[in-house]
């Protein structure tokens, strides 16, 4: 199993029947594939639909797309709406879970994921509203990039929000930001606590209930 699949499978276990869930672009999108059987989850796309599903070949419709403009389909029970309502769902506390990628995450649980000054200025899109407003924010990202830990003492990149995220799932570990710091709750299969600590640029508190990451619900 590659690292992205591992992360997506673990995140999928955090989604429950009836949840309204928004998946960010890239890695988080993969999570939809691994929702445990028997759990019906409503996926929202912030351009104005809940109940989205993968595209049906031959039935693409120019007026039914995801936030990247690619064709999708809709499940029974889906609803479409304008951008103010879409962000009303997000900001108003009606969105159960958002899963987002990350560039940096720090000891306070702050996420930076929308720009690298001087290098990449795509705009924040819906990320700031999602992190500020969702009931639960899950960060799904590789533990390191270019040999450097993405989990750091303090973010050096501009923050997405000052709200503390709820859970971080990487290819090495599951970490929960808490009042006392970053709690290491799970290690990936075959990964030791020492390896996680060695690959993390921030202080970790090892949970007394530390376990191996489950991947099936």
């Amino acid at each position: 199993m590659d690292e992205k699949t591992l992360i997506a499978k673990r995140v999928a276990l955090e989604l429950f029947d009836g949840d309204l869930v928004n998946l960010g672009i890239g890695l988080p999108t993969l999570v939809a594939r691994y929702v445990p059987v028997g759990r019906h989850v409503f996926f929202q796309s912030e351009n104005g639909i809940l109940g989205m599903s993968g595209p049906i070949t031959g039935a693409e419709n120019n007026d039914l797309t995801d936030a990247g403009g690619s064709p999708i389909s809709a499940l029974p029970g889906a609803a479409s709406f304008d951008s103010a309502l879409s962000f009303g769902l997000i900001r108003g506390g009606h969105l159960d879970v958002t899963v987002l990628g990350g560039l940096q995450l720090d000891e306070e649980g702050h996420l930076a994921n929308w720009m690298v000054p001087g290098k990449m200025v795509p705009g924040m899109g819906g990320a700031m509203d999602l992190v500020t407003g969702a009931k639960r924010v899950i960060v799904a990202m590789q533990h390191s990039a270019k040999g450097e830990s993405k989990i750091v003492k303090r973010c050096t990149l501009p923050l997405t929000s000052v709200r503390r995220v709820d859970l971080v799932v990487t290819d090495l570990a599951v970490i929960e930001p808490t009042d006392s710091g970053l709690l290491l709750k799970e290690t990936a299969p075959g990964v030791t606590v020492e390896q996680v600590i060695a690959n993390t640029g921030a202080e970790l508190i090892v949970s007394p209930d530390l376990r191996t990451m489950p991947l099936e619900g």
């Binding site: 639909i49 936030a67 479409s80 951008s83 103010a84 997000i90 795509p122 705009g123 700031m128 923050l159």
Partner: protein, 219 residues
């Protein structure tokens, strides 16, 4: 009541150089394709455009950027249009980045007569710079100001000849919000219908907000 259907050429001829324009659409889905192409043909320039994103370089309003007709953009995302980023870095285009939900509410505020909106989004980030904060029940909010524009250019699924509009699925996005915030509102509709064909409950933008309609179907 007058029939609001006019030609594409006439519709765009009403837009002066330097105008501010709200564009419906999200990655060009639900954006007024023919109006954009006609703006390019008539070389309207120095425009301020307000839209969710600047699409891709050869798609939707992304074309206006490529054609260098834009002086300023107020938007939430330019990541898929390298031309916007290039012109921004070169100082040829001014870009104001706004969180998407805040953008929707600022336009809504402009259209419905509110003096601004209070949002938790952006508090403590670079978005807060230069803005007032307000405490309500112990929680901090940013005061975000309303947005209005000289024009709103929309894309609709259906329009009747009075200008009642419907939208389809995710092509709705910013369109109904912008319909309230443009001084002159022009809607490009896929289907143009006799008055009465759109049931009152189905109308998503009432006709009184719409000044002109044009057909999305080339003759």
């Amino acid at each position: 009541m007058k029939n609001k259907l006019i030609s594409l050429e006439d519709a765009v001829a009403r837009i002066p150089d330097g105008a501010s324009i709200l564009f419906g659409g999200f990655m060009a889905v639900g954006g007024p394709t023919r109006l954009v192409d006609e703006i390019i043909r008539q070389r309207k320039s120095g425009l301020t455009i307000i839209a969710n994103d600047t699409a891709r370089p050869h798609q939707g309003i992304g074309k206006l950027v490529v054609e260098k007709l834009v002086a300023k953009v107020i938007t939430s995302h330019i990541g898929l249009n390298p031309d916007t980023q290039k012109q921004m870095i070169a100082g040829d285009i001014e870009v104001e980045l706004v969180p998407q939900g805040t953008l929707a509410e600022r336009i809504r505020a402009g259209g419905v007569g509110l003096g601004g909106v209070l949002t938790p989004t952006g508090v403590g980030t670079t978005v807060e710079e230069g803005k007032r904060t307000v405490e309500i029940d112990g929680k901090t909010f940013l005061l975000e100001t309303p947005i209005k524009a000289d024009f709103a250019l929309l894309a609709a699924k259906q329009a009747d000849l009075y200008g009642n509009l419907t939208y389809a699925l995710t092509a709705r996005n910013f369109n109904p919000i912008m319909a309230l915030a443009g001084a002159t509102v022009i809607a490009e509709a896929e289907d143009i219908l006799p008055v009465g064909c759109i049931a009152p409950d189905a109308v998503m933008t009432p006709s009184v907000l719409v000044d002109h309609i044009v057909t999305a179907r080339p003759r």
